[in-house]
């Protein structure tokens, strides 16, 4: 399509503005020397300083990092196995099981796990949050690994077999290294999804296991304060860094 319509292009520019203006507003007001997010008074870093003195927020940030790391590792292992299995055996039931949590609205995963954890006597805390996050992260790792498998040259495996490699050897020495970019991309996606998750965490967190999104939610519920702008801006920066690294590894994973 070579002909471009100026009205369509103008509309596209307007939609880009719609996507970015809200986030830019948040970032700008994080440096504003006023309690109200309404007009510009002067530049300050005091909201960031206040954030550093907020123990609850720091604890929540630590919790979020621990949870996201654990969830990414467990989902990385299970998702890689699932991705290879999906590519090799193409079982319909496994596809439904792995992609189900990706397709379902978050709230359903959250409440059904809350119910299950209570009935299984699993107390709500960091552990239950990690278990819940792994559930929806497996699918994303599996998709990243599967798309990597699909682009793999099968003759390499045949060559390895001809040269006398056992199935385990050919998996460890050929399949796994070739899959690595997909696995890393999937795990980073899992990490990002876990650290950003609000809904599933909301239902599966207990006392003393607050995460950053939960902390932001309880602050926002009470009042709109520039401290929230500051933590939001920091989170945006973190995501930007993660995305830049992720796009180096596997640009196609971002789109899936």
């Amino acid at each position: 399509m070579s002909r471009r319509n100026p009205f369509v292009t103008a509309a596209a520019v307007a939609v880009y503005a719609f996507l970015y203006i809200p986030l830019i507003v948040v970032a700008i007001f994080s440096f504003n020397d006023s309690r109200l997010n309404a007009e510009w008074v002067g530049f300050t870093l005091k909201w960031y300083r206040q954030l550093l003195e907020n123990d609850a927020m720091l604890q929540a940030a630590t919790n979020s990092l621990i949870i996201a790391t654990c969830a990414a590792i467990v989902a990385g292992v299970l998702g890689t196995l699932a991705g290879v299995a999906l590519h090799r055996f193409r079982q319909k039931w496994l596809t439904a099981l792995v992609l189900g949590p990706v397709a379902m609205p978050d709230i359903l995963i959250g409440v059904s796990l809350l119910l299950t954890f209570m009935l299984m006597n699993i107390s709500l805390g960091m552990m239950s949050i990690i278990l819940a996050h792994v559930t929806f992260c497996i699918g994303f790792v599996a998709m990243a690994v599967q798309s990597r498998m699909a682009g793999m040259d099968d003759t390499l495996l045949e060559a390895a077999r001809d040269l006398g490699a056992s199935p385990w050897q050919s998996f460890r020495l050929i399949t796994l290294p070739l899959l690595m970019p997909g696995i890393v991309a999937g795990m980073m996606m899992a990490f990002t999804l876990s650290i950003d998750d609000f809904v599933v965490t909301f239902f599966t967190a207990g006392v003393g296991s607050s995460t950053l999104p939960l902390e932001i939610y309880s602050m926002v519920k009470i009042a709109v304060t520039p401290e929230v702008n500051a933590i939001s801006t920091l989170l945006m920066l973190l995501t930007l860094v993660l995305i830049t690294v992720l796009s180096r590894f596997s640009p196609q994973t971002l789109r899936s």
Partner: protein, 298 residues
């Protein structure tokens, strides 16, 4: 590989993820189904669903929770309203995504990657941050509300307050879900053969005709895929109505959350969740059908 080894590999690869998801995805679904027929516990949670008395087993299950759904029109109205909100969100998303996807598909190949990344980037910032941004924009002291009220004052109308309104909820729903519409639509538009438009032009088709007779019908599969990706998560959302909707803007997700967290009536919460699950599954099946329409370009 011998047949034995092949079986072993299949078992080792499939078992761990399958077992995990059976335990933490399928089982919770079944537990919820059972819970929808159980009585609520005295202090929230669930009452026992069977009793062993003098060696005989009695089940304590009920249809009451399901009956409650139809007792008043309250919940059906709420469901209808949520479907309407999701439909509106999907329509607005399609309206905004179309020119964007067209522009990206028409731009030089080397720019497309970056333009698409720019669509996805805001989506990766935290969900609550994106809602919070709209809380600032719609706040009564904000520039938008003040500007609007200067216009309404000139026209002699009542001042408006956008915060805690359906407009605020739908704007934010659109904002959060827009990338889900842009991506499949772009993936579709990008594959259109430019020769088709050239042929249409050679045959004397106007710009509008070229769009409605060539581009539009070919883009429908992409539009359907985007619609499903926007509609399903929108339907289950609770944080956006919670923070931006006030009492008028609540959706089915808010009531589910309320049943599980505040009133702790898990059986009825399960009923509402299962209704939402049913609608989701139905939509996934319909989407699967549409995706397989003969002649569809995917």
């Amino acid at each position: 590989m011998s047949r034995f080894q092949e079986k072993g590999a299949r078992f080792l690869l499939t078992l761990p993820p399958a077992a995990y998801l059976l335990l933490f995805f399928l089982l919770p679904g079944l537990m919820m189904l059972l819970a929808s027929f159980r009585f609520p516990g005295d202090y929230g949670g669930l009452a026992p669903w069977y009793y062993l008395e003098e060696g005989s087993l009695t089940f304590d299950l009920t249809l009451e929770n399901w009956a409650r759904l139809f007792e008043s029109t309250l919940y059906l109205q709420l469901l209808l309203k949520s479907l309407l909100f999701a439909l509106l969100t999907t329509a607005v998303c399609a309206l905004l995504a179309y020119p964007l996807a067209l522009t990206i598909a028409a731009s030089p190949k080397r720019h497309r990657e970056l333009l698409i990344l720019l669509v996805i980037l805001p989506f990766w910032s935290n969900f609550l941050v994106r809602i919070y941004a709209w809380m600032i924009i719609f706040s009564p002291q904000g520039a938008l509300t003040e500007g609007l009220n200067q216009i309404t004052a000139l026209l002699g109308l009542e001042p408006v307050n956008l915060m805690f309104s359906s407009v605020a909820v739908i704007t934010c729903l659109v904002y959060v879900h827009l990338p889900f519409m842009v991506l499949p639509l772009y993936a579709n538009l990008e594959k259109h053969d430019p020769a088709l438009l050239d042929a249409a032009q050679d045959l004397g088709a106007s710009r509008a005709q070229r769009f409605w007779k060539v581009t539009w019908p070919l883009s429908l599969p992409g539009l359907y895929a985007g619609a499903v990706l926007v509609f399903i998560p929108t339907l289950g959302i609770f944080a956006i109505p919670d923070l931006l909707g006030g009492t008028n803007g609540i959706m089915i997700g808010n009531v589910i959350k309320q049943q599980f967290v505040e009133s702790r009536d898990w059986p009825f919460g399960s009923v509402l969740s299962l209704v939402l699950t049913g609608i989701t599954l139905l939509l996934v099946v319909i989407a699967g059908r549409l995706g397989r329409t003969p002649g569809a370009l995917t």
